[in-house]
Amino acid sequence: MADTSVEDLKQQFHAALDAARTPAALKALRDDYLGRKHGRVTALVKSIATAPPEDRRTLGAAANTLKQQIEQALKAREAGVAADARPADALDVTLPGRRGWTGRRHPLTQVRERVEDIFMAMGYQVIEGPEVEDDWHNFEALNMPAAHPARDMQDTLYLSSPVPAPDDGRAATLLRTHTSGMQIRYMEQHEPPVRIIAPGRVYRRDNFDATHTPMFTQVEGLVVDEDITLGDLKGTLNAFAEEFFDARVATRFRPSFFPYTEPSAELDVECQGCSGRGCPLCKQTGWIEILGCGMVHPAVFEAVGYDPDRYTGFAFGVGIERLALRLYGVDDIRMFYENDLRFLEQVAL
């Protein structure tokens, strides 16, 4: 019966210990069990004197063990509670945390990769090629022989002296005015079907102002196979516009002229700024021109050794800066080349 009371006391203590989570509660618990005058364990020890002589020894040992256990448990809890107590030097949580540096891809890269991703998902291969080009790949093979008036459409920057080319030995004499040269190279080396896009920097001898830079970024695409139609071109570019602008945008095709496509067209999308009603952004037309396109000119196929009676194809070229201006609401193309961090850090991580 004395054993029972030791056991009871132990259980009661642990229940109380669980609830004691502050220094004050622990002090009260200590007094309640181990206090010199009214402590419950102290009382138990005192009661041994009145127990039957044959029980005193066992009871004494049990009471002592209990006292030590309680003492230990209290000490451990007291240490824990002290460690968890409010430190003297509280920190100012309103100061900024340590986040490390963040870097972003350049907005032109973000737009270019977005265009690449859309076409990669449609099964296109992304190819790259040299920025200094030879006359054949930049002009002649694209149905622009010397003295062709269309060469004036792309005022060219020429090198003072030729630079060796890595691949086919034709020395580079100019800065490419478009990435079409890569398409010629690809066709020279591969048989149809062809489904590629060629992104990269291109150069024109253009003034440097809010809407022109002598260097800009293009993504050109090319599809060649048997029975490729103008309808296929439309379906592909409509799908691209919808995916890029993330909306069901209205599109329209306007006939145009490029020496390497026939028929040629320009693709307009409904102005996002005014939903087609007309605003300064679209010069009140309701439409924004985003790319040039067309069916590959048979002379281009002849230049690369494809049979124009067997194969047809389409090609298109997107100006990345133009898309980026729309996407970010920027009105001066030069901002993309100033690398002002106050601008670059506004785009998505």
């Binding site: 340590r98 540096w101 196979d225 690398n339």
Partner: protein, 682 residues
């Protein structure tokens, strides 16, 4: 090309209800972009392939087909003339095949101002009225697209006309009062003695029509496009005439244009034709014949345009169509003014643009073969950006060309720079030999706007006379951590080295850094060559270091700012790149770590210490890493305390204390013997 709707209506039966906006929109729909509308005048942008639409008649023809109405064909009459007055005898000789046709007519004129209606039409098209004779030539140019020129016959020596190449050093003062020195490749119109006009470009001042002119010789000719283009470019002289000739005028229109001009002069009471028209046309051009096959039309457009629409469109544009015998299609005769149409695809375009590309149903091409993997360079670029953005560097895009002075310090030698023959300005004179100069300019741009912490990288092409290469470059300046708790620690060489290390890791490249002296743009003693491979060949893949302060100050950065940077040849990364790496199973037995602090000479490279340790350790040493380097109190002058953590590991068993101890003793002994290193503290 500016054209008024009322002028166009003279040649196309456009519906009365169509206002200027509708006319503009319909013509725009078939490929002539509208740059502006003012009153009833529409300003069209004419693409380079359509010189025939640098004329009111050409645009009216397009408008008629676009509206589905008929065109107005008007035969030109040269007026009744003055049969009673004998004409002059002016021999015309063509001495160069660059002139395909030369026609000359004569008229007695009373030079004076033009009537208002004609002056107004010219003004609406942006042409300044001068006098009735010159105005009539300009009127015909605008209406028919055929350039003409009027000479004062009295001022032509002979009088005779010779179309010939200029003599070397021959000079001519053109109508704009500029004295021009001609070259032997330029085609001129000459009288008996000298050049009187630059063919197809501009007439000469000496034979100009003036108030006193009584008899004129009116020229209407055809010149080869390439020669007019080259001459106009060479002289820096673009005119209404050269714009049309260089794209291709209609050789058949020459005499009709003369008739129209003579008729106008008579109608205005400004003059009368005298004598006969001289027409030298050695090989008259015959219209081209092109076959258009129905299956080809359907295949390219992906739509079926009905037969009657095909013939309506082509006929309306001046093509003569005949059902092709024995095949499904048409024989088409191309009008001489359509210099852009020479093959079947050109005809399909004509049908397509007037049928309406927007009407063609959109389809999606079938993918008939598995797509190829994209070029490795594309994927590599993406990986570099991912790694460096993750490391807190901002991507920059800088110009490929720059001023020579900015590029030169970064070139192997100044002869290796690639220069541009026709740069826009000195600021864009050479192609960059390195990504660093552009990045540094961008860094300085930000510093000058009080942005002190700048961390930029770029991936792109660099150029030398040996060819094009691809690199990734980076520059860093300002605080290392960018946090208020440590505002004063600035980036140093090791931040730049670390970026290189990250890239090497990303491409699975084993590499090392070594001191280098051949990077003129880095501070000596703070420049590293980054090497991959075994060192037996030129295995340098990049460099890193602290940028020379003098260079930075020269580009506009205030003195006292530390900038570090580096550059790696990514073509080397491409060669070495293992994008997927197999993992090795984790060891079952614990590793043993031992720290070693030694005193060595301050000038001894860490790489040497590492090398000695590795050379004298058992194979169970799997990693050596510096974790502290200390100079100062407690370390003798000229010495440095270097602490290294050595990791021992065996895949198959647990290492014993005794063998670790033995290995350490061997290492310490070797360090002491080789480098005079002493154990520190202990």
């Amino acid at each position: 090309m500016k054209a008024s709707t009322s002028w166009m209506r003279e040649f196309a039966d456009l519906p009365a209800s169509a206002d200027v906006n509708e006319v503009a929109a319909r013509i725009a729909d078939v490929g002539f972009e509208v740059a502006g509308i003012e009153g009833e005048v529409i300003d069209f942008e004419i693409t380079a392939n359509r010189p025939d639409c640098l004329s009111v008649r050409g645009l009216a023809r397009e408008a008629a087909v676009a509206f589905g109405v008929s065109g107005v064909e008007r035969p030109e009459a040269p007026g009744s003339g003055r049969p009673d007055v004998p004409g002059p005898d002016v021999p015309v000789t063509i001495e160069s095949e660059l002139c395909g046709r030369y026609a000359l007519a004569f008229a007695d004129v009373t030079v004076g101002p033009s009537p208002d209606w004609l002056a107004d039409r010219l003004a609406s098209a942006g042409v300044r009225p001068i006098n009735n004779v010159v105005d009539v030539t300009n009127y015909v140019l605008l209406e028919m697209g055929q350039p003409m020129h009027a000479f004062d016959l009295a001022r032509l020596a002979g009088p005779e006309i010779r179309v010939r190449l200029a003599r070397a050093g021959e000079s001519l003062t053109t109508l704009d009062r500029q004295a021009r020195t001609l070259e032997g490749s330029m085609l001129v119109i000459a009288d008996r003695d000298r050049a009187v006009a630059v063919a197809g470009v501009m007439g000469g001042a000496a034979s100009e029509v003036s108030a006193s002119t009584q008899r004129i010789a009116l020229e209407s000719a055809w010149f080869q496009p390439a020669t007019v283009r080259a001459t106009s470019k060479r002289l820096g002289l673009k005119t209404e005439a050269s714009a049309r000739f260089e794209r291709g005028a209609d050789p058949a229109a020459a005499v009709a244009a003369l008739s129209r001009a003579l008729g106008l002069l008579e109608e205005m009471g400004a003059g009368h034709r005298v004598g006969r028209v001289v027409d030298v046309y050695p090989s008259p051009q015959t219209p081209r014949a092109v076959t258009l096959l129905r299956p080809h039309l359907d295949r390219l457009l992906g739509d079926q345009v009905p037969d009657q629409d095909v013939t309506r469109i082509l006929a309306g544009l001046g093509f003569v169509t005949d059902a092709a015998a024995g095949s499904d299609g048409w024989h088409v005769e191309v009008p001489t003014w359509r210099v852009d149409v020479s093959r079947e695809a050109d005809l399909i375009e004509e049908v397509g643009r007037h049928w309406g590309i927007n009407r063609v149903p959109a389809t999606f091409p079938a993918l008939r073969a598995a797509p190829h993997r994209s070029d490795s360079g594309v994927l590599r670029g993406r990986r570099i950006r991912r790694v460096l953005c993750g490391a807190g560097l901002q991507e920059a895009v800088t110009f490929t060309f720059m001023e020579s002075a900015a590029a030169a310090p970064f070139a192997a030698d100044s002869d290796s720079l690639v220069t541009i023959a026709n740069p826009l300005s000195e600021k864009f004179a050479v192609l960059r030999p390195s990504l660093l100069p552009g990045l540094l300019d961008a860094l300085i741009y930000n510093r000058r706007r009080d942005i002190t912490d700048v961390r930029l990288f770029e991936v792109g092409a660099v150029f030398s006379v040996r060819g094009e290469g691809h690199r990734v470059g980076w520059v860093l300046t300002g605080a290392r951590h960018g946090h208020w708790s440590d505002p004063h620690t600035e980036v140093d060489l090791f931040d730049a080295l670390g970026v290189g290390d990250l890239l090497a890791e990303a491409f699975g490249l084993a590499w090392r850094s070594e001191p280098t002296e051949d990077t003129a743009w880095f501070v000596p003693g703070r420049a590293a060559a980054l090497r991959a491979g075994n060192g037996t060949r030129d295995d340098r893949v990049g460099t890193a270091g602290q940028i020379l302060p003098g260079l930075l100050v020269g580009r506009g950065l205030p003195a006292g700012v530390t900038v570090v940077g580096g550059e790696i040849n990514v073509d080397a990364l491409r060669a070495a790149a293992k994008t997927e790496r197999r993992v090795t199973p984790l060891p079952r037995h614990p590793a043993v770590l031992r720290d070693l602090s030694i005193l060595i000479d301050a000038g001894l490279p860490a790489a040497s210490v590492r090398g000695t340790i590795r050379a004298n350790a058992p194979a169970t040493l799997v990693d050596v890493r510096e974790f502290d380097r200390y100079q100062g109190k407690g370390v003798p002058d000229g010495r440095v305390s270097l602490s290294l953590r050595l990791t021992f590991q065996d895949r198959d068993r647990t290492l014993t204390d005794a063998e670790i101890q033995q290995a350490l003793e061997a290492i310490v002994g070797a360090l002491s013997g080789t480098h005079g290193a002493t154990l520190r503290g202990n």
